[in-house]
């Protein structure tokens, strides 16, 4: 009746539960408190007791799942067809997907945004939303038919009209946010130098990529490196903070006097 996997997991759950009770008792808990999960009376040392209870709950849940799915066994009829392409056949991806690294980039922006700057948080949310949409469409299209080329065409047809504007907007947002943090953090003269160097680097990279026959992978690598540099600069700039910038004050009725420009 019980499968091997569920037996093992129920055993783990039982041992963890027993361990929690014993641990609670030997660390000063009362029997009523330990058995009632602290509802009445003490449970001893909370962290160890609670963690063991968590392990017991997780193992119990996994055990029930294993029991219901019969250890995730695939029926023989489903397992393989005559051509060897049944349910257990390994399907290799037709082409590389960048959504995993981009999702990591979005999560990094989210974490940095919480700690440093709200703009990075909003950027992280935007990146993760786009990644979610793209990844879902890719996963769906990969199994739309048995022909990878047709699947690729289906994906392009569904998401293609949205993909270019979305990714372009994202790229522009990343660039503007990253570079602006750097320009605001360095001195007035430094910002002129940074802007010139960045513009020159983009110009030189574009000429180099256009004049030489490089593979798609190299272009992707150059763009990824550039994006990382912009992000790293943006984070550093956001951590340093903006330099003190003077304000414009209007004086009198006849004209405008500008005070305290720059530093």
């Amino acid at each position: 009746m019980f499968t091997w996997g569920s037996k093992y997991l129920f055993g783990v759950a039982g041992v963890a539960l027993l361990g929690a009770i014993v641990y609670g008792l030997v660390t000063g808990g009362g029997i009523v408190g330990v058995v009632s999960v602290g509802y009445k009376g003490g449970v001893g040392e909370h962290t160890g007791y609670g963690t063991l209870l968590g392990v017991a709950a997780a193992a119990l849940g996994l055990g029930v799942l294993n029991f219901i799915t019969r250890d995730a066994t695939v029926p023989v009829a489903e397992a393989a067809d005559d051509s060897g392409g049944g349910a257990l056949a390994i399907r290799t991806p037709h082409r590389a997907s960048f959504w995993g690294p981009l999702a990591a980039f979005g999560l990094a922006c989210l974490a940095i945004g919480v700690a440093v700057s709200q703009v990075f948080f909003i950027l992280g949310v935007a990146v993760l939303s786009i990644v979610l949409l793209e990844w879902v469409i890719l996963a769906w299209s990969d199994s739309a038919t048995g022909d990878p080329l047709v699947n690729s065409a289906i994906r392009e047809r569904v998401i293609g009209p949205l993909e270019v504007p979305l990714l372009a907007s994202l790229g522009i947002a990343v660039f503007i946010l990253g570079v602006s943090r750097v320009l605001l953090a360095v001195s007035e003269a430094g910002s002129v130098v940074v802007a010139s160097v960045v513009a020159a680097a983009i110009f030189a990279s574009c000429i180099a990529l256009a004049k030489t026959r490089v593979s798609r992978g190299v272009i992707t690598g150059v763009v990824a490196l550039g994006a990382l540099a912009v992000l790293a600069g943006g984070i550093a700039g956001a951590v340093v903070g903006e330099r003190e910038i003077g304000h414009h004050h209007e004086t009198g009725e006849t004209g405008t006097q500008v005070e305290g420009e720059g530093e």
Partner: protein
């Protein structure tokens, strides 16, 4: 293999997709759900230990002037229970190929999710608890933040599975993705129940 380009017509006579490897997503989701539960229970245990340490010195646990009202947490609990029912409804509808009801149920589940996030935001504004300078505040914000992150992940999962269902990926023949999303949604409800009892009720 059929040679087609982007702007050519997609041929009709293409081979069918091989069947998906069964139960892969369900097992992976269950492992993640188990990790979430163990992690959250561990954090809650640490919270309880620190709280016990502070209370044993006759000091108040919450910073002075901070109170946690009960109305919002209880309504959030009710919202989460409703969301679990809506998610189970979505699963049942997909299993019976009842697509209109499935999408209504998906939308309801997401609406309850948004409602819980909104109520948490309102509760935090009512509590007006400064984040710095007090261990209780740091731990409470960590626990509430992790619960919100779990909710966000669960909502993303539901959106993804609703889109896959909309695209015809899941139906009565294969509903594993929706079942996996349901497992994670129930885990999310479990996480809130832990938060509700450990922080909002026992204070």
């Amino acid at each position: 293999m059929t040679d087609i380009s982007l702007y050519q017509r997609i041929p009709v006579d293409v081979p069918e997709s091989p069947p998906a490897r069964p139960r892969l997503l369900l097992i992976a989701t269950s492992l993640v759900a188990a990790a979430v539960i163990v992690g959250y229970v561990g954090l809650t245990s640490y919270y309880a230990q620190v709280r016990q340490g502070v209370l044993s010195t006759d000091q108040p646990w919450l910073p002075s002037g901070v109170t946690i009202p009960l109305t919002q947490p209880n309504f959030m609990l009710l919202t989460m229970v409703f969301s679990a029912v809506a998610m189970a409804w979505a699963l049942s509808a997909v299993r019976h190929d009842d697509r209109p009801n499935a999408f209504i149920a998906f939308a309801l589940t997401l609406m309850f999710g948004f409602a819980q996030i909104a109520q948490t935001a309102y509760l935090l504004t009512l509590m007006r608890m400064p984040a710095a300078g007090n261990p209780a505040a740091a731990l409470i914000y960590t626990m509430v933040g992790l619960q919100l992150a779990t909710m966000a992940m669960a909502m993303g999962y539901v959106v993804a599975m609703a889109l896959r269902t909309l695209g015809g990926g899941y139906s009565a023949r294969d509903y594993e993705g929706v079942l996996s999303a349901t497992v994670f949604w129930f885990t999310n409800v479990g996480v809130y129940i832990i938060l509700w009892y450990a922080v909002y009720i026992t204070k």
